[in-house]
């Protein structure tokens, strides 16, 4: 089986994942992904003709909530999860979409 995961693909995926990988990390990641794909390829050996794609394991549907407000103000508690907070808001590195 030829190489599926090219260097360009690793670069592209790391951009999407916002990861800065060193050359050796890229190499290792490439190897890992290669192995994952090989494993997944095993599934292709199965004949799935006429089998409907499954997106959920449980045969349930229509799980709803009524439109009723039940959550109060739990800002203080929520902000405990923030790496940094200021003025009741989550403080993050500057991001300006231009």
């Amino acid at each position: 089986m030829g190489k599926i995961i090219t260097d360009e693909m690793i670069d592209y995926v790391s951009i999407l994942a916002k990861l800065n990988l060193s050359d050796s990390e890229k190499k290792a990641a490439g190897k890992d992904m290669e192995r994952m794909l090989e494993y997944i390829d095993m599934l292709n050996e199965l004949n799935t003709d006429g089998v409907e794609p499954m997106t959920h394991i449980f045969p349930i549907s229509n799980v709803f909530r009524e439109d009723r407000e039940e959550n109060g103000d739990s800002r203080e508690k929520m902000l405990e999860n923030a790496p940094e907070a200021r003025d009741g808001m989550y403080r993050v590195p500057k991001t300006v979409e231009q």
Partner: protein
Amino acid sequence: MSRQYETVIGLEVHVELATQTKIFCACSTAFGGEPNTHTCPVCTGMPGALPVLNKKVVEYAMAVGLATNCKITRHCKFDRKNYFYPDNPQNYQISQLYAPICRNGYVEIETESGSKKIGIHEIHMEEDAGKLIHDEWEDCSLVDYNRSGVPLIEIVSEPDMRSAEEVIAYLDKLRLIIQYLGASDCRLQEGSMRADVNLSVREAGAREFGTRTEMKNLNSFKAIARAIEGERARQIELLEEGKQVVQETRRWDDNKEASHAMRSKEDARDYRYFPEPDLPPVDISEEWIEEVRSRQPELRTEKLLRYQKEFGIPQYDAELLTESRKMAELFEAAAAICGNPKKVSNWLMVDTMRLLKENGQEPEELNISPEYLAKLVELTDSGAINSSVARKVFRHIFYENMDPEKYIEEKGLKTVNDESALRETIKRILEENPKSVSDYRNGKEKALGFLVGQTMKEMKGKANPEMVNRILKELLQ
């Protein structure tokens, strides 16, 4: 320029739904709360938190779909759209790609050149993102997740529009449908309705579409019209110079009346959609569709016809009255109470419209009780107040939603119908103005107007004008 170009436009319209709570959690959707006071583990993307779908969102989406002639998807699902940006704490937005709730609809628009069908490709449900505030002094951004998880529907049109005029007519049509359904207040300025414009140009008669761009940040009808004109001109210029249009997202700057390409964040748009594992699918039965259909209120098009037929309101007036749901409701309620739709219509068409315009307000902001408007009509009809007093009283109804009866009582504005008292006043005025009296008797009709004016002034505007006229003429004979 010798070649003729045609503009091809499709729209993506986001509408914030008028639910009490968010799409996947029981947090409030109310506007104006302190930052992050309407948040919980679900809408801040905490690991392990599970979304549960708000039923009302599905019903609003179905209602909009039915009103725009869409086919409702019987087995519908959610998908994850992956992207990294701090307005989105989960690093994905729950949306619908593969099985959106509505498909293949259309709305009919009216423009100067007649009526036209604009196709609706699909309507899907999704969640809104949080709000980022970029700090001016410190090198950081601050995030408020109150809007995170607020339910949206995205209405994707077919590329059926050919001009700014058609785009505005289409948006206005959607706005009216959705407002009448009560599914959203659809306010462009406040962001509860947002439109992205996909535009390309091609030589007239060409069959293939040109390369399109997507324009964002359009928050008024005027901005949309200007952006369309600007982008059309920009693309034609490129083509005339022998260059190519690049498929990209552009941000419209309405102050500069120009757009610029948004930096393609090093990568193409690759959202790596996949089926949302945390939400089971939604099965929509025929019965459920019928139930939603049976609850659909009367929409604008039907009201327009009914006002003309039932109340004898001219078409132009009926169009204005139904321009907003608020106005139409006020009209119908007040007309039902006083039984005089024409007079109610008159107050709305003339005085209300003028005051709204003076104050730069939208009809949706009206705060007038139909009872008070009906009372005003009755008070004028019965002659209890004259029309100039009524105008004055109306201003108080408009600004303070004041009970007209109470106001008239308090200010003593009731028309004086006491004929003998009025007669005495008029006698005195005639004695004080002998010149006008002789002028009138010598055939100068205008002198009568002056004497009426003097009488009204003396009566502080409260006299019944018909009575004044009658007594004056009688005494002058």
